[in-house]
Symmetry: C2
Subunit: 335 residues, 2 copies
């Protein structure tokens, strides 16, 4: 759920306040990665994302098989950020009448692959005609103990899974030359799926960090968590705003993927502001830090900074200077 994406904070605040119901079994409503509900004895966790042609993807550079995978994966990432386990999904598809049937077949094959890998059942939805392709997915899952965005406390350490900026760099490469998409399609057809460039792969086929999210929640190790869908600095900003704290990160501690260094001389805007990585950004109380250090290689985790009391974002740059970190997020489709 990316209610902030529209950059109309007033509208969102109004919706959030206006529809706030104190009655009824709602544990966590609008404003986190997913809603946490309690209709019966168990907690449900529910999320919904819209993917719209020309805003979130383009037919020329998003092969339908990968788009099917990604459409579900971005929703699963929201669930991962709560520590939830997915059970069901619903699919709404708006399709232009001119779309070739093979597009739909490949899209559904991609969706099915992620359904099977993550053991999610498609239980319903809606098909409709539409001038542009519209994909709307709802995921319903379970959670016993969840991690909200708003639990970070001063002194907590800040951790990140994976490498930031890969997806935005991959999109940049794809947009530079549409040929790459063609090459990728050929690779898929030849069964050489694994040989996809790590940057382009990160953009076309993100991996929701369900196992990590579940593990952190189950063991009560993270005090706050968010998935990096908008960009590292802006998602850190969201987490800090919700927790009413600030943060200080160290540039030298941010993990850099070799492919970023190979392809770009200046990659820091991708790293700090590139969206769509769908990794997990979370905070850990000091006395639990050692437990994360122990699994940091297994889950590819890096400690990048700490939570501070004053509500500002800082970055200590490679020269040791402390500078304000401007929250920014971009993707080429959603500038």
């Amino acid at each position: 759920m990316r209610l902030r994406r529209l950059r109309e904070p007033e509208l969102l605040l109004a919706i959030r306040k206006d529809f706030l119901t104190k009655k009824g079994p709602i544990i966590l409503g609008i404003g986190d990665d997913a809603a946490v509900l309690k209709p019966g004895k168990n907690l449900l966790v529910v999320t919904k994302d819209l993917l719209i042609e020309k805003t979130h993807f383009r037919r020329e550079i998003n092969p339908p098989y990968f788009l099917g995978r990604k459409s579900l994966s971005v929703n699963l990432s929201d669930l991962a950020a709560m520590g939830g386990r997915p059970l069901y999904c619903l699919l709404g598809l708006g399709l232009p009448p001119s779309l070739p049937p093979s597009w739909v077949e490949e899209f559904m094959a991609g969706l099915k692959a992620i359904c099977q890998r993550e053991r999610v059942s498609l239980v319903g939805g809606d098909l409709s005609r539409s001038p542009e392709i519209v994909i709307s997915i709802t995921v319903i899952g379970q959670v016993k103990r969840f991690v909200p965005r708003n639990g970070a406390k001063p002194g907590d350490t800040i951790w990140l899974s994976g490498y930031p900026g890969l997806a935005a760099a991959g999109l940049w490469l794809l947009e530079k030359t549409n040929k790459l998409a063609k090459e990728i399609i050929d690779k898929i057809k030849a069964g050489r799926l694994n040989s996809i460039d790590p940057l382009i792969g990160a953009f076309l086929d993100p991996s929701p960090q369900l196992r990590l999210g579940c593990w952190l929640a189950r063991h009560g190790l993270a005090s706050a968590m968010i998935d990096t869908s908008d960009g590292l600095s802006i998602d850190l900003c969201h987490l800090c705003e919700e927790s009413q704290v600030g943060a200080e990160i160290e540039q030298s501690r941010i993990p850099l993927h070799p492919a970023l260094k190979e392809n770009f001389s200046d990659f820091w805007s991708f790293v700090l502001a590139g969206g769509e990585d769908y990794q997990l950004l979370f905070t850990v109380p000091p006395h639990k830090r050692n437990k994360i250090v122990k699994v940091s290689r297994r889950f590819n985790l890096h400690e990048i900074g700490r939570i501070i009391k004053s509500r500002q974002l800082w970055i200590i740059d490679n020269k040791g200077e402390r500078r304000p970190l401007k929250p920014a997020g971009f993707s080429h489709f959603n500038p």
Copy 2:
């Protein structure tokens, strides 16, 4: 959920078969008005509908306040057709940047009015830019005893709530002259909401039959149920196909609203094939028929025919002749 709307039965059959999972707590998956799930002790009922500009509505004739109401109501109608009670909804909105803020405010006011009337909590969603307006709503509810589409048996009587064809006739009037929409907006602004023409009101602001659906399910009176979103004859066809039976309806028993007779000399295509009424069509076993007769005035119910063994649809016309009933459904947006 109107998976059939795209008229690609092969695709839908493939999806339904392909994603069918025997494992996991799914009581009813793709193919009914809503999915019935059992993630814990209680049954959940979940539905999702997409509304896309120029396919399902047009800015010129759908005032945003009523569109907000209708977007939720059509989903609640799917829940009503299962006998479910709604608890939560999620909203995905794709909006063109050029849309005036007042449009969004009025849309949200309409959505909120139905949320409050039906005690549904908006718990999350997604906002995004989009070339056309896209509305995606998911509703999650509870059900103890549900009514599927596939339970009709030969000898069951066929019942319908409300008057068929009003919404399609209302849309026809609205399309004939855009002035009517202006008049309606003036009426809303003047607080004269109740004075809306019954035909136009049926199209702009349908009433999901939640109380009736719940009551029928709780007392185990309906053997099969569907909401009339596609048109009487086609929805009857869906119910019969799922139940593997046929039906015979009597033209003289179909209730006709006075406004239809006043405005049109030939209204039968609206009555038999007009979509978007969002009333309930259900079947009742012979030994339970009396119980329905008793409440038929309270709920405005009419007995229009009976289920037969041979898998065909028939209509006994006003001259007493038995003719095949061709399943057809239309709305001007979705021809």
